[in-house]
Symmetry: C2
Subunit: 496 residues, 2 copies
């Protein structure tokens, strides 16, 4: 067997373990009974260790060294060797025993987080969080970094991104958005919340979410929709990309937009060829790019005027009271700007402020200037500074996100980058599909999906984010697209 | 590390892989989308191969050789070494590559079976069945046998059982039951089917099944209930024993008794200590003993007069029309004897005839006297001979059971043995809990569960079936308990 074939066979073995790991993770959040948690942590740890050992094996090092010098590779193969090689070198320094230990701790931390959140009791989660922070800090030393330890973590989610570049992006965003937010609140004409008052049957919401996923082109023969506390999308394998969701009886838009959001992620993975999965290129270009696909379906599409022209009668099939509501009213009321406690419920204008808050706290946790025990107070303080509001309890505050329980420090900035990429990519998409609004308004999502498949989805992780955004839009990341998008849309809705 | 500790650590690694495998299997039948099937088969094959390689590894052989000579082992440890040692020697002869190949073929055969059954098209399943038979025949040669190749397969499900012993058991059963069945049909007063006429909402049936499981003491914090085509129970790990079920809109008893049946299996596994799981003793004494636990809950309890006295008002909470039905009428109508097409729907009198049919066909497949292609015709012919009826199509005939798609030849006799063990164990249980009927009639299932936990469940696979039945009842397997039970019960119901 030549090196390339051996490399691919080796990757396929890893991919199969990843598939089993993904299923264990999905099940842990959707179906696993609580008494199964401790044994599950052991199983997840074992598979994680096995996959890691294969990934950092000596053969892998040899394959990469040899293939990096070879000329005859296809585009996908070259990309695989490049990205796998980077990860290989990154992880090579980590002792396999530590990986297993972290996986066990992660599984336990996630169970503790679920409990802590249910009881709104940070103390249940705190020892686990301290452990996860400690692991993350140790990882930064193993990975290495040029300036700040946090950069070592960022690299995992957004290759090429740094803390200082993030501060450069955040500064103008903040200076544009904060005064705009103030103007909206002070001078704008806020849409009415009336259409969404009342209680909405959960089972009906679940069926509506399913319908919304079908509408955007999500393939249920290659996925599924299950209930969880914190929605996520996971690729169990080629042909199996699952969406999870949650529903609030008194806030039906929450479940609907979460479904569209996760559906956007899922379309990305459903649009990648099986070959990318087995070349370990099916995670997408970066978490930020992945997030751009979910945010675009959620916001640029789901929160658009043409969408609500199309969707109003469909909504009325599930909740008849909407039969009498003007689509324009639904559109406006689906775009209310209001500083709020929960990131995933945040509107497009304030969303990035939630990220700035987390970025500030995370960098403090990682550089050691913030002890985990101080988080609830610091969180509430930062909420006050960024958004002018204070959480009622920790469940709505510092315990709201699953990420830290997973040890995923450095992940949050991807959400902000996702918003920025989405605006920039969507501007390009609009320029190329002249009648996009009419298509959406008539329920024809095919040209949208075809464009995304061709320009983004099918490429999977072949390109890194800088390359990809350049390739798609002809220029590097430019936050001004997002600023323009938000200002135009909300000046109109708020009649400024 | 001494040998015992090393042996236990080795078994724990295998147990963790088994846990992941069990989850993959559960998911394949409950949630996996159809486009995920082919990748899933690869993943299942890989894990299966890894577990198998650990099981037949040289270390394992050394541990067993050494521990078989040691004196200081606990009861559980000795049992583990004994049973694992038997399995080790049995499987040692099988090439690991064949195990992986079979796991892939099994996964594909199961997907094909689901499709074939949906379309009632045997030709979709036939090539997969031929493959599975061929594998089974090869296995008998690897395993070895004294008289008949089928015995080599039986050993896996019912240690110590042989084809000739089965024929000895079947002969008197047939000679007692066939004339009794004829008397019931010809001279008996058949209960009315009236109470169960109509259509029964599936979602309500699902909630009722959940309630029934709660009633018998199934712990939902250590399990779950999901929909499938063919109900099964699976142990994902300690604290995670899941039940699956199906519901028919026009036959609510089907889903209810299937839930009680699977619940009986689940109680067995929920009643075993975690230590048995990691000693690979959590499969129970044998498949026949496992089946005795499900059949007892389904039949000796669920189809009893006191159960229906207690259950009638509960049933009426879900389906109000039963509020007006006499419990005695429900009891009688839940015990109608009628030759039918589907094994899992068969009554207690005819059930064993379904097994005799399968035993006849299976031994023919395995000794090569029956080609797989002849099965649909032979099945229909045997149904006519044993039960006097002919399937309308293959979905209701040869395609009804999942077992052959799993390559589980030699499994079916366990169902018959389960009936026989159940009757014998239940006779003992009744003699020791004098007021059992009153307890059940008042909804107190605690003494029943406590007795089963103490005498059966907590022992898991510590004893082999011959030993266990002797230990519980003071004598070896005696089919006359079943004959007596059936004759007394149905003579009463049919007013002979």
């Amino acid at each position: 067997m030549d090196t390339l074939a051996a490399y691919k066979a080796h990757l396929a073995e890893i991919a199969k373990l990843h598939s089993a790991q993904a299923l264990l993770g999905w099940d842990q959040h959707t179906h696993m009974p609580k008494k199964g948690a401790s044994a599950r942590a052991q199983v997840a740890g074992k598979l994680s260790k096995m996959a890691f050992e294969l990934f950092v094996s000596d053969e892998m090092g040899e394959y990469i060294d040899r293939l990096e010098k070879e000329d005859g590779l296809s585009l996908e193969e070259r990309a695989s060797v490049h990205r796998v090689g980077k990860d290989y070198r990154r992880h090579k320094a980590i002792p396999p025993a530590l990986v297993e230990e972290m996986a066990i701790a992660r599984s336990q931390a996630q169970s503790a987080w679920v409990q802590a959140r249910e009881r709104s009791d940070f103390s249940v989660f705190r020892p686990h969080l301290e452990k996860m922070v400690d692991y993350a800090r140790r990882l930064t030393e193993y990975y290495g970094y040029e300036k700040e330890p946090y950069d070592a973590l960022l690299e995992e989610f957004e290759p090429g991104m740094t803390s200082s570049r993030l501060r450069e992006i955040i500064a103008p965003l903040q200076s544009e958005l904060v005064p705009f937010l103030k103007r909206l609140i002070d001078e704008g004409e806020a849409p009415s919340t009336d259409p969404w008052e009342g209680r909405f049957d959960i089972a009906t919401q679940r069926r509506l979410a399913r319908r919304a996923l079908e509408i955007i082109g999500y393939d249920f023969d290659a996925g599924g929709l299950d209930d969880v506390a914190h929605p996520f999308t996971t690729t169990i394998g080629p042909g199996d990309v699952r969406v999870t969701n949650r529903y609030l009886e008194d806030a039906p838009l929450s479940g609907l937009f979460a479904a569209l959001h996760e559906g956007g992620h899922a379309l990305y993975n459903q649009g990648m060829g099986e070959n990318l999965y087995y070349l370990l290129l099916a995670d997408g270009a970066s978490h930020g790019i992945h997030e751009s696909q979910s945010r675009m379906i959620e916001n640029q599409i789901g929160r658009s005027r043409p969408f609500w022209r199309f969707f109003q009668p469909i909504l009325a099939e599930y909740f008849p009271k909407f039969g009498k509501v003007d689509p324009e009213e639904l559109y406006r009321s689906a775009n209310i700007v209001k500083p709020s406690l929960i990131r995933v419920e945040a509107d497009e204008v304030t969303y990035n402020l939630h990220i700035m808050l987390r970025f500030e706290l995370e960098t403090g946790l990682i550089d050691g200037s913030i002890p985990a025990g101080d988080l609830p107070a610091l969180w509430n303080d930062a909420m006050e500074r960024y958004l002018g509001i204070t959480p009622l309890d920790d469940a709505c505050g510092v315990l709201q996100d699953v990420h830290w329980s997973m040890g995923a420090f450095g992940y949050f900035p991807s959400y902000m980058l996702g918003n920025l990429y989405a605006a920039q990519i969507f501007a390009k998409l609009r320029s190329e599909i002249a009648d996009l609004d009419e298509r959406i308004a008539s329920g024809d999502f095919e040209p949208l999906l075809a464009w995304l498949r061709e320009n983004v989805h099918r490429l999977g992780g072949i390109y890194e984010p800088n390359e990809l955004i350049e390739r798609i839009t002809g220029e590097g990341l430019d936050p001004s697209y997002f600023v323009t998008y938000v200002k135009e849309k909300y000046s109109d809705i708020y009649r400024l």
